[in-house]
């Protein structure tokens, strides 16, 4: 029962977080044409891209880290090997966020709006 309520609450929070994004896109698409607002859309795309990538990376690395902690708690003698596996896993997951960062930086630099 607790798990069900947690899942329902999580879904509700996700819906509430994504509602302003959906409304903003709708309003912006209705209000202006894309040619004159290319820079605005580019900046929005860059920010959303890296934001969602960071979200996924945070969740993935958090789950991996929690399981690694559990493994070390069960078997403290294997902590060296578990730490090595954890570091490699975190670096691989991090690289997905780095790809998204590079795409975002590319978008920003193509509009000459990078600092």
């Amino acid at each position: 029962m607790k798990k069900q309520t947690a899942v329902i609450l999580l879904v509700l929070v996700m819906v509430f977080l994504l509602v302003p994004v959906a409304f903003a896109e709708e309003a912006a698409a209705a209000a202006a044409e894309a040619g004159s607002n290319a820079k605005a859309f580019a900046v929005l795309g860059a920010a959303l891209g890296i934001g969602i990538a960071a979200l996924g990376t945070g969740i993935g690395q958090g789950i991996g880290l929690s399981k690694a902690c559990e493994g070390v708690a069960r078997n403290p003698g294997a902590s060296g090997k578990i730490m090595m596996i954890l570091i490699i896993g975190l670096a691989m997951i991090e690289s997905l966020a780095i790809y998204a960062l590079l795409v975002s930086l590319g978008i920003l630099m193509s509009q000459n709006s990078f600092f």
């Binding site: 570091i87 490699i88 670096a91 691989m92 991090e94 690289s95 780095i98 790809y99 960062l101 590079l102 930086l105 600092f115």
Partner: protein
Amino acid sequence: MEGGGYLINIPGVPSYVTYSWLAMIILVLMAVLVRSSIKLVPSGFQNFMETVIDALYNLCEETIGSHWAGTFFPLIGTLGIYILLCNYMGLIPGFDSPTSNINTTASCAVPVFLATHYYGLKVHGPKYINHFLGPVRSIFALPLMIMMFFIELIGHLVRPVTLSVRLFGNMMAKHILLGVLAILTPVGVPVLVLGLGVIVGVVQAFVFVLLSIMYLAGAVEEAH
């Protein structure tokens, strides 16, 4: 970040090239220094170098197997120490890290890719294509084999890209973060990012070396 000049500035040569030359000179000098006064019972600098080489060789050997570890170890060891040195050169003020440029990282990743396929073809011959065809081998599974071939081909082609972009992205992100934090809070907080840079330098070099070892081991092993 772009404002100050670098310490060694040869006009006409980009900064990442001059600092990669500096890294090369440092590595060759270290090797020549150890070799000129080599003793049977090591002490001092030779001891340190032997520890590093031994650790890298054990890492190689437990994944590849002792038959091929000797062949691959020069490439892996050089890449590991060179990338570590280049990552750390970026932390010193006045120096630039060559690995924060996609040219250097691609030049480290492409030889690994070429070596993988060269050694795979050398060991297996034309049967190397068995690595690409997936687990099932029968005439009825031909669509599966064709699909697995394309998927594995894309996976293999993307390997040098991911190796180089991972290293480049990490170093670039650290530089950009330092630049932004230097504008926002010049006191105190950039030191934390420098600490993170130390950790990230070691971890990224280690991950590069480990992935290269796994790709090379996967190419020379017996196909399932």
